[in-house]
Subunit: 370 residues, 2 copies
C-alpha cells in the first residue's frame, strides 16, 4: 500500500508517455483519442445554451443515479438504430465506459476470475487488477468474461459467429457473466455490425457503450445495461461510486442528440478515419516490413506484431528521441510476452504527418535491430 | 447478488422518496440540494463559451487522471483562502466528493474496519457497506476514520478541538487513516473555520472537498488530497474508476473561478441559507415542540431528534400524504436506533414555503402520536 515519495509519482513507462505528450513537434500515435477536428463545437455550444436556459435544474442540480430520463431515451433510440431493442428504463448512464466496466466488475464480486482476450483494453485490465481479480483465458471458467465483440481494442476486429457461440456456451455452462464492451461499435468503417451479445443473452450480459469515441470524451458519458436480475445491485454500485454522471454533460448531450447532427457527424468521422488508416497502412507496409498488421474493420488503431525480442519501453524511448510516440504492447497483454508488439493510433494524428511519423518510428526501430 | 425483477428496482424507502419527488405541490425538505436560485447561470455560460472557444481540447478531449492543471491551481488557491497550504500537484480532481470518499476507502484495502460518527453522511455509509467494510465507532481502532470536522452532516456542527485531538491520537496509535470530508466547509454561516485535520496530519489524512454545495452539483467536480505516500496508488485507483473527471466541467469551472464571481456568490449564499434556517428554526420551535434540534453552524439541514418510538418511513408516508417530505433518520445512522430522528434540509425550499411545510409535517406527526 505504500508509495514512493515522488510527486506526482509515476513508473518509467508513464513517465515516458507523459514526457512525450509535452514535446513540441512530436507526432503521437498514442492514446486512443478521437480527432479533435471532428468535435462539433458549434452544435455543442448551442446545446449547452439550450440546456442551461430551458432546463437549468437538469443541467446544474443533482439528478437520479441512473441518469436523465431524456438522455436514456436518446441512448435507447441510438441503440435501436443499430437494431438493439432496449427499454430506456434498463439503461444506466455512467461517467464513461471505464466506469461502466468498473461497476460491472464490482457487482460480480470481490477477487473474481475474469476471462480476457490475449490482448485487451488496458483500462479494463487495470480495473481487474485493482479489484484483485484473477485473469484467465476466454476458454476457461470465469465469473466474468470481458470482450469487445463489435470492434476489439487494440486489434480493431470483430468476433466471429463461432467465437460468439462458444463464448455464450461457456458463460452459460459456468454461470458466468459477460461484459460486452461496445465502446468502438460506432466506429466501424462500414457503419454496420452484427447484433450484440446483449441481444442473444440479455440475462447474462452487461452491455457497455460510450460517446467518447463517436462524439467527444471530455463529456465523460457512457452507459451500462445490466442483466435484469442485477439491475438493483448495479444501480446501488453506480450510486455509491459517484452518485451520478455529470448533469451538465447529460443535459447538453440530450440536447445535442435532438439536433439531428449526430448521424452526419458519424459519417464524416468514418470517412476521415478510413482515409487516415489507409495512409497509415501504406506507410507501415513501406517503412516497417518486418512487422505484421491486420487491417482493422473499425476503431482508432493498428496493432503491429513481430517476432523481434525487443522491449517496447526501450523502443518508445528511442522513438521519442526521433520525435514520435505510440502505445507499448505490454499494456494490452493480459500476460507478459517476449516479442515486440505495439499499437499505432491514427485517429488523432494530423493526416499529413502520418508518413513522417512512421518514418521516424522506422528509424528508431532500425537503431535497435542493427 | 440476485435482484428482484422490478425495473427500476427499488426498496420501499427509495420508492417513497422518488414518488414524493414527482408530486406536484409537495414541499421537499429532502436531499441536501443547494438552492437553484443561486446557480450563476450567466457566469457559467460565459465560462463555457470561453472554455470551448479558447481551449477546446481541454474541454472536450481526454485529460490526465489527476485533472486539469489550471483547475488544480484554482482549487489550491481556494484552499489557501481558508489558510490551507497545499501544492496543486497534490490535488486529484474527482467526479464529486462521493467518488473521492469511494477512492480513499478502496485505497485503504478490502473489507476494512471503518470508524464513523453515530450519524453520518448516507452516501459514505453506502460506500463502506458496498466495500463490505465493518463499521465501528470513532473510539475504536480502525483502518479508516471518516469524519466531517468542519461542518458535519446531518448535524451541521464542527468537531471540538478535544475531539480532533483524540481522533488524531487514536489514528496514530492504530496506524489508521482519516477521511476528512470537507464538503460543507464552504457553507459555514460565519465564513470562517478551524484549520482542517489535513494541516495537523498530512501523512494520515485524505482531504475531500467539492463544488457541489457552494456552486452547483451538476458539474460533479470534487477533489481528493491523499497522504503523500499513498499518492500513487490513489491516482491509480482514480484512473481505474473512470479515467478522469469531466473535462468539460473542469474547463468550465477553471474559467468560472477566474472570473472572480465565486467569493460574492458564497457571501450571497451564506446570507440566504442563514435566513432560511432562521425561519425553519422558528417554525420547528412553534410546530414541533416535542423534537430536539441544535442550531447548525453551517450546512443545508437541521437534524431533529426525539424519544418517540416511531418508524421514520411510516412518518414519511404520512408526511407525503400531507404534501411534505424529509430525509428519514435511519439512513444517517451507522447502527439502527429505535427513536425517531430525521433531517430537514432548508437549502432548496422556497423561503415562503418553510412555515407551511413544517405545519404539514406537524400534522403528519400528530396523526401518528395521538
Amino acid at each position: 500500500m505504500e508509495d514512493s515519495a515522488h510527486t506526482p509519482p509515476l513508473d518509467a513507462r508513464e513517465l515516458l508517455q507523459r514526457r512525450a505528450a509535452e514535446l513540441p513537434g512530436l507526432i503521437s500515435f498514442a492514446g486512443g483519442l478521437p480527432d479533435p477536428a471532428l468535435f462539433p463545437k458549434r452544435h455543442l455550444s448551442r446545446a449547452f445554451l439550450a440546456a442551461i436556459s430551458e432546463r437549468p435544474s437538469s443541467a446544474l442540480q443533482y439528478g437520479w443515479p441512473e441518469g436523465l430520463p431524456e438522455l436514456r431515451e436518446r441512448i435507447a433510440a441510438e441503440l435501436a438504430e443499430r437494431s438493439i431493442a432496449v427499454e430506456p428504463e434498463r439503461i444506466i448512464v455512467t461517467s464513461g465506459a471505464q466506469q461502466a466496466i468498473q461497476i460491472a466488475a464490482s457487482v460480480v464480486g470481490t477477487r473474481p476470475r475474469i476471462a480476457v482476450e490475449r490482448e485487451s483494453y488496458p483500462g479494463a485490465l487495470e480495473i481487474f487488477r485493482s479489484a484483485r481479480g484473477k485473469l484467465v483465458e476466454l476458454e476457461d471458467d470465469a465469473h466474468l468474461y470481458y470482450v469487445m465483440p463489435s470492434v476489439s481494442n487494440p486489434r480493431g476486429q470483430s468476433m466471429s459467429a463461432t467465437a460468439r457461440g462458444s463464448l455464450l456456451a461457456r458463460a452459460r455452462a459456468c454461470n458466468g457473466y459477460i461484459v460486452e464492451d461496445d465502446a468502438y461499435a460506432g466506429t466501424r468503417f462500414d457503419g454496420g455490425g452484427e447484433p450484440p451479445l446483449l441481444a442473444s443473452a440479455p440475462e447474462r450480459v452487461f452491455h457497455v457503450g460510450t460517446f467518447s469515441k463517436t462524439l467527444c470524451p471530455g463529456l465523460r458519458i457512457g452507459w451500462l445495461i445490466p442483466p435484469r436480475k442485477l439491475a438493483r445491485s448495479t444501480l446501488k454500485h453506480k450510486q455509491a461510486t459517484d452518485l451520478q454522471a455529470s448533469s451538465l454533460s447529460q443535459a447538453l448531450l440530450a440536447d445535442y442528440l435532438r439536433t439531428g447532427d449526430f448521424p452526419a457527424l458519424q459519417r464524416r468521422a468514418r470517412a476521415r478515419y478510413r482515409r487516415k488508416l489507409r495512409r497509415l497502412l501504406a506507410a507501415v507496409e513501406r517503412e516497417l516490413p518486418q512487422l505484421r498488421a491486420s487491417p482493422p474493420i473499425g476503431g482508432f488503431s493498428l496493432w503491429l506484431e513481430s517476432s523481434l525480442a525487443i522491449d517496447d519501453s526501450l523502443l518508445l524511448e528511442r522513438a521519442i528521441e526521433q520525435g514520435v510516440s505510440f502505445d507499448p504492447g505490454q499494456q494490452f497483454r493480459a500476460r507478459p510476452e517476449k516479442t515486440l508488439a505495439f499499437r499505432l493510433c491514427f485517429s488523432a494524428v494530423p493526416e499529413d504527418q502520418i508518413e513522417t511519423g512512421v518514418a521516424r518510428l522506422a528509424r528508431a526501430l532500425k537503431r535497435l535491430t542493427r
